[in-house]
C-alpha cells in the first residue's frame, strides 16, 4: 500500500542537498551544533526534540527521537512525560483561546 509517509524516506533525509546543496549543508551543520552538548545536555535536548516531534506530528521525527532518547538512556516514563508536556502545551494553547471566546461571547451578550 502506498502512503504519503514512507519510513524508508527517513534514511534519505541527508540527500535533500541533491536539489540545493548550500542550504542543506548549512542546515545540517546548524542541526548538529544545536544537538551537541551545551548549556543543556544532549540527553535533555533529545527529550525536547521528542516532545516537539509530537507537537509537529512528524512521524519521521517521532521515529528518530524515540530511538535517540532510548539510546541516550532515557526511561520510558521520561519519554512519555515529555510527550505529556507537548500535549499539555497543545491543550493549554487551545483552552487559553477560550478566554477570547468568553470575551467575545460576553461582548455580544446581554
Amino acid at each position: 500500500m502506498q502512503t504519503y509517509y514512507d519510513p524508508a524516506d527517513l534514511k534519505k533525509f541527508g540527500k535533500i542537498g541533491e536539489f540545493q546543496k548550500e542550504f542543506a549543508d548549512k542546515f545540517f551543520a546548524y542541526y548538529g551544533a544545536v544537538f551537541a552538548e551545551g548549556a543543556l545536555t544532549a540527553r535533555e535536548k533529545s527529550l525536547i526534540a521528542l516532545a516537539v516531534s509530537h507537537t509537529v506530528q512528524c512521524p519521521y521525527c517521532i521515529d528518530a527521537y524515540t530511538s535517540d532518547t532510548l539510546e541516550k538512556g532515557c526511561s520510558e516514563q521520561e519519554m512519555m512525560e515529555a510527550v505529556h508536556v507537548a500535549a499539555a502545551i497543545r491543550g493549554g494553547a487551545t483552552l487559553v483561546h477560550g478566554v477570547q471566546m468568553m470575551n467575545k461571547a460576553k461582548e455580544l451578550s446581554m
Binding site: 532510548l70 539510546e71 538512556g73 526511561s75
Partner: protein, 348 residues
C-alpha cells in the same frame, strides 16, 4: 525460562546462527560485508597486536536467563570448566607476562573451583577481573561472602546492570533481578567496592534494552551515578556501554521482533574505522570452558576456534597465536559501531 539449548531451539546450533549471520538474511540487505569494510581501511586480514587480556569463560551455568545473552547461559547449562583446564590456564599464564585475567561465564562464581582458581591467579600476580552478574551474591547463602572474597583477593568486579530502574532491567534479565542487583551492590559497597578511596573497583556494564545502539558512555554514566546515588545511596566507579551482539538469544530476539534488518543496517551504517582499529579481539585471547581458544567470547559462542595451529590452552603459545588472522563475520559490526564496543565499553 529455558536456554535455547534446553528448549531445542534451532539457534542453539552455532551453524544455524552462522547461516543467519552470513547468509541470505544479511545478503538481501545489500550491505557491505565486514571483511570488505576492513579491507577498505587496510585492516583485512585483521591481525592481533599482542595479548593483554586472558579472558576465561568458566562455563555456561548461570542463575539467570537473560533475554539478550550471547552465551545462552542458564541454570540448565551444565558445561563448566574443570580444575584440570584451569590448571592449564595457570600454566599458560605462568609462561607469559599477560597482565590481566578476565573471568566470565555464565556466572563464573557457580563453578565449584572458582575460588581456588582466583586464589591461584592472584598468586601469579595478575590483575583479575570477575564479571559478576550481581544477583549471584544473593542467590544462595553460600555466595553471600563473595564481596569479602573479592576484596581479600583484590579482584576488580565488573557487573551488568542494564538500566537504573526495575522495569527495563527485569524485562531484560528476569523478574526481580533489579531488586536483587541493588541488594548485591549494597553488599559490595559495604565492603568498599565502588567507594572512593578504597581502591576496590566496581564497574557497571550497560547494554541497550532492545534493538538500538548505546548512547554516549559518559552521559549514561552520569545518569546512572545520579539515580543510583539519589534513589538507592549506591556508588560505583565506571560504566561500560556495550553494544548487543547479534548472536544467540539476542539474534533470536531480533528475528522474532522483526528488528533484524533494521538493527544490522544500524550497525553497518555506524561502522567507525577508529573503532575497528581498536577492537578487543586484537589484544585478547578467549578461552572456552573446555580449553578451546577463540578470538573473543562471541566467536566462542559461534564455535569459531582460532585460525592457528595453537587452538587449545594446553598447547598455549603466545608467539604463534600472535601470527594468526582473527576470524571476522557480520556480527563483528557490533564492536565497530559508533564509539565502538568491547568488554571494557566504548573504544573511541
Amino acid at each position: 525460562m529455558k536456554s535455547l539449548k534446553a528448549s531445542g531451539h534451532v539457534l542453539a546450533s552455532s551453524a544455524a546462527q552462522l547461516d543467519l549471520i552470513e547468509g541470505d538474511n544479511f545478503g538481501k540487505l545489500g550491505l557491505p560485508s565486514f571483511h570488505e569494510q576492513l579491507g577498505q581501511i587496510g585492516l583485512f586480514p585483521l591481525k592481533p597486536t599482542q595479548i593483554d587480556i586472558f579472558q576465561v569463560n568458566m562455563g555456561k551455568m548461570c542463575n539467570q536467563v537473560c533475554q539478550h545473552c550471547h552465551v545462552d547461559a542458564g541454570p540448565d547449562r551444565k558445561e563448566i570448566m574443570t580444575r584440570e583446564t584451569m590448571q592449564q590456564c595457570l600454566d599458560a599464564l605462568a609462561q607469559t607476562t599477560i597482565p590481566t585475567v578476565d573471568l566470565t561465564g555464565g556466572a563464573p562464581e557457580m563453578n565449584p573451583d572458582f575460588r581456588w582458581f582466583v586464589t591461584e591467579l592472584t598468586k601469579l600476580g595478575r590483575h583479575v577481573i570477575v564479571r559478576c552478574n550481581l544477583t549471584i551474591i544473593v542467590a544462595n547463602p553460600k555466595y553471600h561472602d563473595l564481596p569479602e572474597f573479592f576484596r581479600d583477593n583484590n579482584i576488580e568486579v565488573v557487573s551488568s546492570l542494564p538500566f537504573y530502574n526495575a522495569d527495563k532491567t527485569d524485562r531484560q534479565r528476569g523478574k526481580g533481578v533489579f531488586a536483587d542487583s541493588i541488594r548485591a551492590m549494597k553488599m559490595l559497597n559495604d565492603v568498599g567496592y565502588g567507594v572512593a578511596g578504597t581502591g576496590l573497583i566496581l564497574n557497571l556494564v550497560y547494554n541497550p534494552n532492545g534493538a538500538f545502539l548505546p548512547g554516549s558512555q559518559e552521559s549514561l554514566k552520569r545518569q546512572f551515578k545520579r539515580v543510583l546515588n539519589d534513589e538507592f545511596n549506591l556508588t560505583f566507579n565506571d560504566l561500560y556501554a556495550i553494544t548487543n551482539i547479534p548472536v544467540s538469544r539476542f539474534l533470536d530476539y531480533l528475528l522474532k521482533s522483526g528488528n533484524y534488518d533494521g538493527y544490522m543496517e544500524k550497525l553497518v551504517n555506524a561502522f567507525n574505522p577508529g573503532a575497528a582499529a581498536g577492537v578487543m579481539c586484537r589484544n585478547t585471547i578467549s578461552i572456552g570452558w573446555d580449553g578451546q581458544l577463540y578470538d573473543c567470547d562471541f566467536n566462542q559462542m559461534l564455535d569459531l576456534t582460532v585460525a592457528s595451529p595453537v587452538a587449545h590452552i594446553r598447547d598455549f603459545n603466545a608467539d604463534i597465536l600472535n601470527q594468526r588472522a582473527i576470524i571476522v563475520n557480520e556480527h563483528c559490526y557490533a564492536c565497530t559501531a559508533g564509539a565502538g564496543s568491547s568488554c571494557g565499553g566504548s573504544t573511541v
